[in-house]
Structure formats: structure tokens, C-alpha cells
């Protein structure tokens, strides 16, 4: 079943002087939840601003919900709900009034806006706190208020910029649940930009990965994930011996502290691992098939683009001047 497309762009480019923020972007985002990923500075903000119709693309065209992004910015903005990354709330207002006002700014009449403000605050879990001033809110409650502002007019598309950033686990869980619920039960679309891959993976089915203004990957998360099967074990005591024993038996082992991953090649692998463990007396606290996460996917894609994870060796490759002057000599400082 072909789902309807909500965002489409063809050859979208945006230059800031010589600096290229977006380059020839051909995107096709369908109804449902989509994650907008990319390393820092990949052009996500520029992309969001472009599809909101707030800045003009240098070249290329696109539609959002059937509206042309170049000419119908206002129409787009009245049909989507945008949840900005940074604080966008007046700290001296009550949550209910802030949300109501955000509805009125869309053209709702005040009575309807008030009803909808109650409903949306209820929905984002701020039913009890809606008469409190926003400055007394925690980060999680502020994020929820921002979401309530975004969904007050029941938009077809919700653009959430880092919705779960900076939240503690309770608030984060709730924010994610709310977004999932919005997609599943409310049948709305969510475009979610986030660096927290776990959250994206939970909410979204598809991702778009931008890098340096170009499209690096797009598609369903499941399709994109490599099917490199591995067994992950958590060892308690005797990890090195176990590792040695397993390598001796010809297994391919990667190890990070107490966590080891073994390439899943034979059907008997689990039994062999346990055998090794019983021989060296190591405890296997956990053992399960390791499923690649979105984060792995991201890293693989970035690695293909020539960026890798660095280690402390890179940090200490060069001589460090700081040692010379850091502290009094008797503290071990002074000369290195």
C-alpha cells in the first residue's frame, strides 16, 4: 500500500554565500514517523527552515503536504506543528495561556483555542500543572508544553526538533510514548530530528540521514540495518581467559571490557560459548543475539563517508604543553 507523501523535494539547494548548507536534496518522506538524522552541522536546521517556508531555497523545489515551499509558506505553517529545539516559551505565562495563545496565533478563535489548549496539555501529561507558570517547570515539562503548542491545531505533520534532549528518563520515556501515540493512535506524521538514536528507533519507521547538506541515506530502518549476526555476552570474572579460550576454538571475538561479541557463524555457537565458560570458570551473566541498532547504522554510514570514532590515542598523540604549567611541582606538575 502506497502511503501518501508528505514532504517531497527535488534538487533542493541552499547556499549561504559560498557555504553550502543543502546540496541537491531529493527527498521523499511518507506519512508516518520519520527520523531526521545527521551529524552536528549537517544542515538539518536549514532543511527544516526551508520546508517551513521561512527561507528561500537557492534552487530546487519541494512540496509539504501538497503546498509549494517557495510560495505557500504560510499555508504550510498552518498545517504543521513545529516544536523548536530551544526554549520558546514565555517564562512568566501559565502553560495553559501560552498554549492557548499559540493556538490563537494560528487563527483559532479564543474559545476554541482554550478548549484545545486544555486537551493538548492533558494529552502531553500536564493536566495538573497547566495553571502553573512556565518558569517553575522542569525541562521535561517545558518540552511537553512545547509539544502541546505544536499539536494544538491537530496538525497533519509534527516537526519535532530534539524532542527528548536534556530530559531525564521519566520525562524522556513519556515524551517518546506521546510521540508514538500521536503517530499510532492519532494517525499523524512526525518528523523528528534527534541525536538520540534509541528514541528515533522507537518512534520512527523510516529515517533520512543528511550529511554536509547531502542525502546520505534514506529508507526504512529495518531495511537499512546490516544483518551482521552476532552473539553478545556479558562476562563476570575471567573475561580474558574466556576470550583466549574462545579465540583458541576459532571464534571471532570483539571485546569491550566485560562485553564480548562473537560472530554468529555456527548453530552450535551458544553451546560452545558456554562450554568455554565452564572450562575457564567464567560466569556468563547475559547472552543474547545482538541486534544492530540505529546507532550502529549511523556509525557505519559515517564510517563509509570517511569519519570514524576516535580514541584517546588521538588525544595524546602530540606533546602536551599543559603538563608543564598545570600545578605546583610538588603536585606532580611543573616539568613533564
Amino acid at each position: 500500500m502506497e502511503r501518501e507523501r508528505i514532504i517531497q523535494t527535488q534538487g533542493l539547494s541552499k547556499f549561504y554565500g559560498p557555504h553550502m548548507a543543502l546540496e541537491n536534496l531529493n527527498l521523499d518522506i511518507k506519512k508516518g514517523a520519520t527520523g531526521l538524522l545527521g551529524p552536528n552541522g549537517a544542515g538539518k536546521s536549514t532543511f527544516l527552515k526551508t520546508i517551513l517556508g521561512l527561507i528561500q531555497a537557492t534552487s530546487g523545489e519541494g512540496t509539504v503536504l501538497g503546498h509549494d515551499i517557495r510560495t505557500e509558506g504560510a499555508a504550510i505553517r498552518s498545517r504543521i506543528g513545529y516544536m523548536p529545539e530551544y526554549d520558546a516559551l514565555n517564562p512568566d505565562m501559565d502553560a495553559i495561556n501560552q498554549v492557548r495563545y499559540s493556538g490563537e496565533l494560528l487563527g483559532m478563535n479564543p474559545i476554541v483555542a482554550l478548549q484545545r489548549a486544555h486537551a493538548s496539555l492533558q494529552y502531553v501529561g500536564l493536566g495538573e500543572q497547566r495553571y502553573r507558570e512556565i518558569k517553575s517547570f522542569s525541562t521535561g515539562m517545558k518540552q511537553a508544553t512545547k509539544l502541546a503548542c505544536a499539536i494544538i491545531h491537530d496538525p497533519e505533520l509534527i516537526i519535532a526538533d530534539e524532542p527528548s534532549n536534556g530530559l531525564d528518563s521519566t520525562a524522556r520515556e513519556f515524551m517518546i510514548d506521546t510521540l508514538i501515540n500521536t503517530v499510532k493512535q492519532g494517525d499523524r506524521s512526525v518528523l523528528m530530528a534527534s541525536h538520540l538514536m534509541d528514541d528515533v528507533e522507537r518512534v520512527c519507521d523510516e529515517i533520512v540521514l543528511l550529511h554536509k547538506g547531502k542525502l546520505a541515506a534514506q529508507g526504512r530502518i529495518e531495511d537499512l540495518k546490516a544483518i551482521d549476526r552476532e552473539i553478545e555476552i556479558h562476562v563476570w570474572g575471567g573475561a580474558s581467559k574466556l576470550e583466549a579460550a574462545m579465540i583458541k576454538r576459532g571464534m571471532r571475538v570483539r571485546r569491550e571490557g566485560r562485553v564480548m561479541r562473537i560472530a554468529h557463524e555456527s548453530e552450535e555457537l551458544t553451546s560452545e560459548i558456554l562450554l568455554c565458560a565452564s572450562q575457564v570458570g567464567a560466569q556468563i551473566r547475559r547472552m543474547h543475539e545482538y541486534e544492530a541498532s540505529l546507532e550502529d547504522l549511523f556509525l557505519v554510514i559515517m564510517e563509509n563517508l570517511g569519519y570514524d570514532v576516535k580514541s584517546s590515542e588521538d588525544l595524546f598523540k602530540h606533546p602536551i604543553h599543559a603538563r608543564k604549567v598545570d600545578a605546583p611541582g610538588h603536585m606532580g606538575g611543573g616539568a613533564s
Binding site: 551529524p39 552536528n40 549537517a42 547472552m287 598545570d326 603536585m331
Partner: protein, 330 residues
């Protein structure tokens, strides 16, 4: 009256009295209250070397703890020592400290390079030294190609990386990171986590706080749990879990024939409960995880069972935090 020409960071209220044997971070009965609110009460803690995760929900007192360590707050009672020296009104210990504050605001008009080299100079480097140091750390956090762009044009994650770079510029012994991974992309996140872990292995003392428990789990197993300003637990998270013996441990084993496996396992004294949540899964309840796990591999191998997975569903940070804080810190 003269500026600090010797660069020794002389103490303002007391003489610099280093004590190499002293723990890097030492808190004794530290309390901090603002009016009626007790942000921290009676914290006693000593840390030396290794990575320690500071956990707690919003308002648990993490930021207060860090601010106390960084000499920005004066403890209401108790004493704080960094390298054996009280940091309040005394900047001397910070020669060996790197701090990543949680706040997002930075000097937007500065370039990343200017920002890092400024703070290198505040560490007592001269201009040239500071420049080369800044190059080094910025290259490390992967910002060398944009090092001369203004911070105001950086995204959140890039700013976060600049903050980390500035904290690493003096090659510190003690590194305090308040929510360092916020807003970082997975690449930076993994890099930073690797570095934190490796710095810990080099014997540096690293304090990290994060809301995302998986990240802490990936960095360290040594944790400090704060809740409502109280110290709830500290130490290795698995050991903490084992100490909580009034909550039974669960071991979940996926295998082809759970009933058969159960028969073999029931002989172990430590096991006191067995259930079969589904056809291919066996759950064991025990008070002594160690005793069961010690026997388990041999037992499975000896009896020829087919086991596909072993899991301790409640031996992770989330469950521990949950149990300890009575479900409030989910």
C-alpha cells in the same frame, strides 16, 4: 595585590597544601541548603581514579554537587577537598581539573579556537602554547575544520564538543562532565564515551552525569546514585544489585526445553523459584546470583541443553535506580 605571576595558583584563604595520598575528590558530610530546600544532605564520598557515573533525576542534587566541587557554592556544612585542598575561594586545584558545565550558553562571538585557547591561557599557558594546545584538542573532538567559525553558528552538539575540548586542554587529572553527551551526534557521542572510558583507564578521575542510563552503562559500572539530595548508593552497579538481596534476582534463560533444564537447575541451593513465562523460556529466582551463574555454564554443557540466550533483566542501571528510588526515578 599583584596578579598571580608565579602561576602557582596560590590559595586565597589558605596555603596550598597538597597531599598526594589524598583522594582526588573527597567529600565529608557535605550538606548544602538554599533556605528551606536541602539540595544535598550529608554526602560522604571519596573518589580516586576511574570513571564514576553520577546518577539521579532532575533535582536530585547532581548540579549542586558539581557546583560545590567547582568552588561555585560554599557547602552549608562539611568539607570538600579536591586533591586535598578546599576549592571554595581557592582556585589552585583547578589547575588539574577540567569541567564541562551543563549550561548551553557560551560566548557566541568567539571562534572555537579562540574559546579553547582562551581557557588554555587561563590555565597558565602562553599565547603560542595555548594555540597549539587548542589545535590539538579541537582536532581531537573533530572540529579542526570549523575551528575558526564563530560558536554562535555551531549546532548544539558542536558546542558540546567545544566544551569538552576546553575541559581537556590542560590535560586534567580530574574531569567533571555534566551531561556531556547532550545533543551530540552518535559519532561524537561514541568518541566522547570512548575517551571518557580510556581516560578512566589511564587513572584519571572522571565524573560523568547523564540522563541516559544506557550511556552511563556503556562508560562505567562505577556509579553514585543521588536522590533528593541523598546518597543512595555508590560502587559497582552489579555489586549494588547483589546487595539488594531482599529483591530476588531473576535469570531468564531461553532454551529449547525449559522443563528439562529446570529439573537440573533446581538442585542448586541458591535457586528458590522457577517459572515458565513462555514455552521456550525459563525464569529462575535466586538470592545469590553468583552461586547460580558459577554453576550454570557447566550445568548446561554437561546436560547438553540448547540455550539460546541468558539474561538478567533486572541487573541494569534502570532497574537498580528504579528499585532504589522507589519507582520515582524511572
Amino acid at each position: 595585590m599583584m596578579p598571580d605571576l608565579q602561576q602557582v595558583g596560590e590559595g586565597e584563604t589558605q596555603q596550598w597544601a597538597p597531599n598526594i595520598t589524598a583522594p582526588v575528590v573527597l567529600l565529608e558530610n557535605v550538606s548544602k541548603s538554599y533556605g528551606k530546600i536541602h539540595a544535598l544532605s550529608e554526602i560522604t564520598l571519596a573518589l580516586s581514579g576511574g570513571v564514576t557515573g553520577i546518577l539521579g533525576s532532575n533535582g536530585a542534587g547532581k548540579s549542586t554537587l558539581f557546583n560545590l566541587l567547582m568552588g561555585k557554592l560554599k557547602p552549608s556544612s562539611g568539607s570538600i577537598k579536591l586533591f586535598g585542598t578546599d576549592p571554595w575561594k581557592n582556585p589552585a586545584p583547578y589547575a588539574r581539573v577540567g569541567f564541562v558545565p551543563e549550561h548551553e550558553k557560551m560566548h557566541d562571538w568567539m571562534t572555537a579556537h579562540g574559546f579553547v585557547s582562551l581557557f588554555a591561557r587561563l590555565n597558565g599557558l602562553t599565547r603560542e602554547e595555548a594555540k597549539s594546545e587548542a589545535d590539538r584538542v579541537l582536532n581531537f573532538v573533530g572540529l579542526s575544520d570549523v575551528a575558526h567559525k564563530q560558536l554562535g553558528r555551531y549546532s548544539k552538539g558542536m558546542r558540546q564538543r567545544v566544551k569538552i575540548a576546553h575541559a581537556l586542554v590542560n590535560d586534567p587529572e580530574l574531569i567533571v562532565l555534566d551531561e556531556p553527551l547532550q545533543g551530540c551526534d552518535p559519532l561524537a557521542r561514541t568518541t566522547i564515551m570512548n575517551v571518557i572510558r580510556e581516560l578512566g583507564k589511564m587513572g584519571r578521575t572522571v565524573l560523568v552525569s547523564s540522563h541516559i542510563l544506557h550511556e552511563i552503562e556503556r562508560i562505567t559500572e562505577q556509579i553514585v546514585i543521588l536522590h533528593n539530595g541523598r546518597l543512595l548508593a555508590l560502587g559497582n552497579l552489579h555489586s549494588i544489585r547483589e546487595k539488594m538481596d531482599n529483591i530476588p534476582h531473576t535469570i531468564s534463560i531461553g532454551c529449547e526445553n525449559p522443563k528439562e533444564l529446570a529439573k537440573d537447575i533446581i538442585n542448586n541451593d541458591a535457586v528458590y523459584g522457577i517459572s515458565f513465562p513462555s514455552g521456550d523460556r525459563l525464569q529462575i529466582q535466586t538470592h545469590n546470583l553468583n552461586a547460580v551463574h558459577r554453576e550454570l555454564p557447566a550445568l548446561i554443557v554437561a546436560n547438553g541443553h540448547k540455550v539460546s540466550s541468558i539474561d538478567n533483566p533486572d541487573d541494569d542501571l534502570e532497574s537498580i535506580l528504579n528499585y532504589l528510588t522507589g519507582g520515582l526515578a524511572r
